[in-house]
Symmetry: C2
Subunit: 206 residues, 2 copies
Amino acid sequence: MVNKANGPAAREGTGRGRGRRPADEVRADVLRTVGELLLTEGIADLTFERVARTSGVSKTTLYKWWPSKGALALDGYVHAVQETLAFPDTADIRADLLTQLRAFAHVMTETPGGRVLTELIGESQTDQDLATAYREVYSSHRRRLAVERLHRAQEQGQIRADIDVQVLVDQLWGAVYHRLLIPDEPVTDAFVTALVGNLLDGVRPA
Amino acid sequence: MVNKANGPAAREGTGRGRGRRPADEVRADVLRTVGELLLTEGIADLTFERVARTSGVSKTTLYKWWPSKGALALDGYVHAVQETLAFPDTADIRADLLTQLRAFAHVMTETPGGRVLTELIGESQTDQDLATAYREVYSSHRRRLAVERLHRAQEQGQIRADIDVQVLVDQLWGAVYHRLLIPDEPVTDAFVTALVGNLLDGVRPA
């Protein structure tokens, strides 16, 4: 019975060129393809041509959904990293920030993902459309997730109520971006640990 | 006597095309011209052609000293802002950081200087020569000045001895760059004040 009910739909879902699949499913497939490509090879070899070939989706459809390579790359990147870069909540803000920031630093320094982001940020300094896409598809979304976790820490009494947690986003993740974009100093585990300690404990003598 | 000793040299120093002036003096003149141009008009209209015309120095000489527009812009920018962005030392690290960061935020948000830097940082993501020039001419020098001031605060017992002050550079100036490069949130005076307070006081409840 299970086979009968799921069989044809399941086959239709995986086969290509055998009738129409739901658009959501096709989109998710494309984003998976793009995300894998970005995290293994980087952005240089990402072309609509290649994504069309690999995913079996026409270039016309791809351009309809993602008007530029930057938009396609960002959306693929977001989908590729959303689980790795989730914000854990074990009710211990120090431990959770360290976990998340270490995962973030790993993606940024050990996979081509870091290069993808710094190049997109770079290009967005002179490309207004890309800057808008970057904020809408990626950065404002990531900022919101971070702020939500920091607000819960405030509710749990681990961060003072008078602190504007938006500023902490710039002093944690923003500080990492600073070292990636202007690499005078490296992103190390000691750096990540110090970012969290400096803010939670303060740097003045006791 | 004074006139006789200084007269001819002084006249030679200010006149153009009246014999050779010392190279250092000519260089300083060019950098002043470039710096003024950058802080009033931005980088878009900066060309070797125009700098040659304004400063009366041949393009050949300009190219010899600064092999690219990026290198020329950076050097001019450094000279234009070095006094405004000096690191004061009144023996009060909180007050001095606020003074310096406010001057920095002003240059970055109220003059074309901010755009100059963010565009150069942007371009340096894909231009290795510019990235090297940026670090050598600008960022590593600015970082060193900040670190020197923070080290003096450590010696004066205002910052704990176990703190790696390099990290504070990323959590103060780097946090400002983050808002400039990815403008999800604005650079305001409240932001600058919070940057300093969060680090000196910590964000945990007392």
